[in-house]
Amino acid sequence: MQKRVFFRSWWLPYVLVAPQIAVTLVFFIWPAYQALESSFYLEDAFGFSRNFVGWRNFEELFGDAGYLRSFRTTLIFGLSVTILSMGMALGLAVCANRVIRSSAAYRTLLIWPYAVAPALAGVLWFFMMNPSLGIVAYMLESTFGMDWNHYVNGNQALALVIVAAAWKQVSYNFLFFLAGLQSIPKSLIEAAAIDRAGPVRRFWSIVFPLLSPTTFFLLVVNLVYAFFDTFAIIHATTSGGPADATSILVYKVYSTGFVGQDYGSSAAQSVILMIMVIAMTFFQFRFIDRRVNY
């Protein structure tokens, strides 16, 4: 954690950490504290007065069918995005790890979407699936006879944001899977091949178990991404609609606070989300780094 040799100064280290600590206190700790505090108050819409109401904001939230539905939506959304993007990335990484020629070209072509902003990923897919002029909507209609309209159909709207969110995340997962695959010793694979294990058997019995540290790491990172970083995708496309079908928890904090102006409830939602992030970060640092190791 620290060096044996160090410098001595009673003031310099404080000056050095001051900027970081100042920003942290003012823009992180203070707002978090405020959210915690106002989650126990009920404020009128103009901010003139507020009353202490104890746990009422939380009780109302958990009694609200809309909020509970948002939990469900978030879970479906998060799991679908994670499974879809990790599954695709793993398949691509295994293939990219096999090819010898042109592997650099493939890699380049597969990693650039990392740089595309989530909001833009949303807009791109929004355009492709637009019911009246989108090319994908047109293909779905002409080949499968599927009537695509995410303005009306909530499930289709959810599918749209899931695809957009997963599309953007494939590159990230691909890079980490590829790095994981490349660190598996070739000799293990060769030994299995000599024992006449075919490619499929080798993958499931050797490669996949050895990848588990990477897989678990990505699992947490992807869930965090899907739960918290996808606000832009939702906001720029469906705006939580139709009828709240795509209103995931982070979107709901925003819409309750900024659109609905219900500060107490928004603060209570913030607190719930903070508890979720803290739990996930804790899980990531406590277990993933150490437990799954070979």
Partner: protein, 282 residues
Amino acid sequence: MIENRPFLKILTHVVLISGVLFLCFPVWMALVASTHTGEALARSPIPIWFGDEAIANYTQLLTGGVPAAGGVPLSTMMLNSLIMALGITIGKIVISLLSAYAIVFFRFPFRMLFFWLIFVTLMLPVEVRILPTYDVVARLGMLNSYSGLIIPLIASATATFLFRQFFLTIPDELVEAARIDRAGPIRFFWDILLPLSKTNIAALFIILFIYGWNQYLWPFIITTDTDLYTIVMGIQRMTNVGEGLPIWHLTMGTAVLAMLPPVLVVLVMQRLFVKGLVESEK
């Protein structure tokens, strides 16, 4: 490859090519759409090959913007995005370098407290505490300003940890040698530590630049002044008003311009990008 199986070889390439197509297709469509007139896109199926309106569309976007969506020229928005992205990147790197230096190379009271305070920022993404943070920035009078866009986002646990990790690998002998030569802490930082950290800084710069450029929610809530719009959040206004209007060609042109800088950075500096991405997650 271990054994020669032609079928598997073909399958591998088929999977890879379909993956590339899946990832590239949306951008292809955006590029194509941005070279047509709005009317050409109103008929389904829309064209999948380039039209000849590219120059007209992009000139319109860069100089006049989209009139139906406020008419802010995209050149203004891109400049704002650039200022914000660079501000966030440089800010994060500078304050993280300094605090990691203090935490690794000094012993002082409350060192661990500071370390944990920085760690906590990891657990409080903007999206989660959006309303109270807005409140704080409003009270400080930083709404509609570059400082409001940049400063609240420059605390960085990830960057601090990365530098800390790297500093810990620097041999003690180097510090001892510097001290014997009577170099003080500032001299050591400037003349030895900083040059050694160059690659790390460069790799981190790329990741943070992408992060900064792609910010959406924060600029969206704290800028109401159209002169401060950034391009990534500006596109939201176009999709919103664009429902009934034939402006998809302009919206897609905006999307192309908005993703161009970060994508170029990734493609041109691929090696550093991969290094930065993999290391900053450790």
